[in-house]
């Protein structure tokens, strides 16, 4: 039972930084692509002389930025389009599994080519669980910043919400969304799913001159997270999160506690955005593999393992006071 052979891979401590890099890259792309679209319109209109001075500055900037990447602006600027809800990369299409589910519910039939675009995300979710929620979702980017804001507000004496609702609520939201989509014949889940809303609304704001109704909904979810429950929408209400939780229940890559290294400091529980219980091995289907608990752990007791199920509760950590009290006398010579 020596702890030396149970050391986690040393780079996993830095996965959280990589995750923030991915999150901010995805979000930056959502902002940049609408600007590319506007620039593309100027290019195809051949109307540089007719642009306002500010638009000309924008044109020059975009030209400088995109010139090394594009031989033929009319073609190459078309290469990446869309958002995380559904996107095109050089003709290769990827879609959100919830989009596929919602579309199937609304039309009550399976449209093969579209389902195929959701295949890679579905397979990845089967392997990695709710990784989309932690690693890609543009709403997560804002929600985690919102959580940080809540901490600052608490320091200033503002009371923020820490209610706990029933996690199964989001499955109800998912089922209700799909049933309503089927009843109306329109993909209504797209209207209550934050990443889809953000992708659209950034495009509306940049290219079409203003936010739409979805922005109001999204600000509502931010306030809900701030005033009612920390990360409340993701934890309790998000239909996409519900779908990925179901798909990722038997995921292959999971975070596990190495009980020999654990000293019961409970920093992992404090840092967990989804309010899980890593300290007592309580991850379940909700864990989004964000690796924040790995990064925060002072004794390297958190690691990724390839397993289909969680460990049952392994008891108090072996470096903690409780374990040492229980096992006083053992191993002493």
């Amino acid at each position: 039972m020596s702890s030396s052979n149970r050391k986690p891979f040393f780079l996993w401590r830095h996965l959280n930084k990589l995750r923030w890099l991915v999150l901010s890259t995805v979000f930056a792309m959502l902002v940049i692509l609408p600007y590319v679209h506007v620039y593309q319109n100027y290019v195809s209109a051949h109307a540089y002389d007719l642009l306002a001075p500010s638009e000309q500055r924008f044109y020059d900037l975009m030209q400088t930025l995109t010139e090394p990447l594009t031989d033929d602006p009319a073609e190459d600027l078309d290469a990446i389009k869309g958002n995380t809800w559904s996107g095109t990369f050089w003709g290769f299409k990827l879609s959100d599994p919830l989009a596929a589910a919602g579309q199937m519910a609304a039309s009550l039939k399976v449209f093969g080519p579209f389902l195929l675009t959701a295949l890679i995300p579905i397979l990845a979710t089967l392997l990695l669980g709710r990784f989309y929620c932690g690693w890609i979702c543009p709403a997560t980017f804002l929600y985690e910043l919102n959580s940080n804001l809540a901490v600052w507000l608490q320091k200033l004496g503002v009371r923020t919400g820490h209610r706990h609702l029933d996690r199964r609520l989001k499955y109800v939201v998912l089922a209700l969304g799909l049933v309503l989509s089927a009843a109306t014949g329109a993909v209504l889940v797209a209207a209550i799913y934050p990443p889809a809303i953000i992708g659209r609304e950034i495009y509306y704001a940049v290219a079409l001159g203003g936010f739409g109704a979805g922005a109001v909904f999204f600000v509502g979810t931010l306030l809900f997270d701030l005033l009612v429950a920390r990360r409340g929408f993701c934890r309790y209400l998000c239909p996409g999160g519900a779908l990925y939780s179901l798909l990722g229940r038997y995921r292959l890559f999971r975070i596990q506690r190495i009980v020999e290294n654990c000293n019961d400091c409970a920093k992992c529980n404090a840092v967990c955005e989804f309010g899980l219980d890593p300290l007592r091995d309580g991850f379940g289907q909700e864990c989004n593999n964000c690796s924040a608990c790995i990064a925060v752990c002072p004794t390297d007791a958190m690691t990724f393992r390839v397993r289909f199920t969680d460990q049952p509760d392994q008891g108090p950590g072996h470096l903690g006071r409780q374990y040492r009290k229980q096992h006083a006398g053992e191993g002493r010579s």
Partner: protein
């Protein structure tokens, strides 16, 4: 009223009934018929993002809850140049992919049909104009001109709206009657 309309759209259950439009708008070229379009469109916004002409806008609820965030074109603001890129990028086939040839477009695109108001059209008032004819992407096929460049629309018209955009009369003498069927 908006709420009641939205609620009635919601209540108007399976497919068909949801498509009673209150506004005059066009769907992007190659769109399926309205009920199937609404069931297929996942509101990803890629059609608007790839449109080089920026003629595609998105509903915010003014056309009912069912068509929230779906693409539309107001031809008087900006007509469709029939580049057919939106169909290529649409992941769900709500906008069918159609090749950019005159034959394929005439066979596959049914946005609407142009209608000439002869009481407003300059060419019918003794002056020659012919702007709509010059704007038409399918001249002599969809729209031909007779004496004094008086426009006549044939049943080959796909309803792109470039003629309505180009019309120099205010209000416009030629307009697209959308095909929602």
């Amino acid at each position: 009223m908006q709420l009641i309309a939205a609620a009635s759209t919601l209540a108007a259950a399976p497919a068909g009934a949801a498509a009673t439009p209150r506004l005059r708008y066009l769907r992007p070229p190659g769109s399926r018929r309205e009920p199937e379009f609404l069931a297929r469109c996942i509101r990803c916004g890629q059609c608007g993002e790839i449109c080089p002409n920026r003629c595609i806008s998105y509903f915010h609820g003014e056309n009912g809850l069912a068509s929230l965030d779906t693409p539309y074109i107001i031809p008087r603001d900006k007509g469709c140049i029939l580049c057919m890129k939106c169909g290529q990028v649409c992941p769900t086939g709500a906008i069918a992919p159609i090749e950019r040839t005159a034959e394929a477009i005439m066979a596959g695109v049914r946005m609407g049909r142009a209608h000439v108001d002869t009481r407003l059209c300059l060419s019918y008032q003794g002056q020659t104009c012919g702007v709509c004819y010059r704007a038409c992407p399918l001249p002599d096929v969809a729209l031909y001109v007779g004496m004094l460049e008086q426009p006549h629309v044939t049943d080959k018209c796909v309803g792109c709206g470039l003629c309505e955009r180009a019309c120099i009369q205010m209000p416009q003498a030629i307009r697209i009657i959308p095909d929602y069927s």
